[in-house]
Amino acid sequence: MTIDSPGTNTESMAMSADTAGVAGVTRSRTTTILGAVVLAGAALWLFLAFGATDPDVRIVDGNEIGQFDAVRLMYVHVPAAITAYLAFFVTSVGSAMVLFKKSVWWDLVAGSSAEIGAVSAALALITGSIWGKPIWNTWWEWGDVRLLTTLVLFMMSLGYLAVRRLEGTAEERAKRSAIVGLLLIFNVILVNRSVEWWADSTIHQQSTIADAKIEDLKAFTLYYSILLGAAAYAWMLIHRFRLAWLERQYDRFGIDDAIVRRRAEGHTHSEGISS
């Protein structure tokens, strides 16, 4: 390994112009395209969710039943929840790669993904709660396994992010976080199993997707929103990863600088002795 003093970088800095621009430092052609696709997709998503689809109303024995317009909350809630699980799955995979391949790259992916996962899980919980109020007549339904599992997952993600912020060298932090991150997936399975047994009967919309009452365009919108969620996740993950990379590079710089300063301290001292 070489120790670069910050001074050696000026030359290459002058050679490559700041192509990325100041505003979008983590932007590249891939993310620009992906971002355009996601934003265009979001417009269609809003149109489908509010314009094209009908409320969920069915006539049974002459009475109107169903979720009515509250079903439109599903087009946020379901993708948020699935994105959260996807994100934490990536975190666990990344953690395994850190432990078995000693990969720094995956450590940054794991950390970035967990942050997005925590945001998604929070959104899934909030929208789920808001949906539950009119439909189940309660902000929080204890009989719902998936909501409970997501809540515990969200709390564990806070723990994981707290562990990432603990002190230590980059390497110590990476390994420590990797162990917590790898355990996340096992924890979620254990929590899910136990909560499922615990809530003898769940009143959640069992398999909303497969259910016949959400048909045609509504089902399509739901699938579509899940895909859009995954695409938005990928877009955010790339940006967040690049931010993590910048953080890491800055850290390494800071250490290079600190080494130079520390050495200067040493030289001053030895000069002091000899004079």
């Binding site: 709390m155 723990g159 707290a162 390994k175 096992f186 929590v191 615990w198």
Partner: protein
């Protein structure tokens, strides 16, 4: 030394320290009893409610007490730098982990038994299936000890340990709380769930965490 001898050495050391300092017996167990009594105030000393919720209140209290016990278990090594001594001694990380688990489980058992007496007296709980009660108690305490030792070692001598440990450990222990409460509910006759099924879950939890702890403790000892 064999693995077993190393485990016995570490566990024996921790238990000897407990024998001298009596932190679990004289501080953690009384704290747990106090919580049980305070729950009684909080629930307006409603005899029926206390009896019904005795299993849940009991295990909630055990979890709170276990946070303290894990802190103590880590502090024993962190205080005068003994964890570095353990690294220098060349003991296998797996045996250090298992030794710490055995000692922590033993201390948690002391607390749990004292607390059980408290629940029987203060909440008028009754035991209808002692075998199930003891089996599930042991399984739950094993799980708490295995996970607690793992996450405790992870935080090591970090200054933020006291605040990070609960947020890290309590969500992980949620399945133990659920399963142990249900098993106790069956053993105390307050619910009709199948306690043995829950007890299986408790032992599965303990096994998974023990395996993980054995595999990861080398990394954890190095990095903290």
């Amino acid at each position: 030394m064999t693995l077993f001898e190393e485990i016995a050495l570490i566990a024996g050391k921790d238990l000897r320290i407990e024998g001298r300092s009596k932190v679990a017996l004289n501080q953690i167990a009384p704290f747990a009893l106090l919580v049980i009594v305070l729950f009684g105030f909080a629930l307006d000393a409603d005899r029926v409610a206390l009896q019904t919720f005795a299993p849940g209140l009991y295990w909630m209290t055990v979890l709170l007490a276990s946070i303290l016990a894990v802190h103590r278990s880590v502090a024993v090594e962190a205080g005068e730098g003994a964890r570095e001594g353990l690294l220098l001694s060349g003991l296998r990380p797996a045996s250090v982990y298992l030794g710490k688990v055995v000692a922590l489980v033993a201390q948690l058992l002391i607390v749990a038994i004292v607390l059980l007496g408290g629940v029987l007296i203060f909440y008028s709980a009754s035991i209808s299936d002692p075998v199930l009660l003891v089996t599930s108690l042991l399984g739950a305490v094993l799980g708490v000890g295995a996970a607690g030792t793992l996450y405790g070692a992870l935080l090591g001598s970090q200054r933020a340990r006291e605040t990070v440990l609960p947020i890290l450990l309590l969500p992980v222990l949620a399945p133990v709380l659920i399963a142990a409460t249900r098993a106790f509910g069956d053993a105390m006759g307050t619910t009709t769930s199948d306690g043995w099924q829950w007890t299986q879950l408790l032992y599965a939890f303990a096994a998974i965490y023990c395996a993980f702890g054995v595999l990861s403790h080398g990394v954890l000892m190095e990095e903290n």
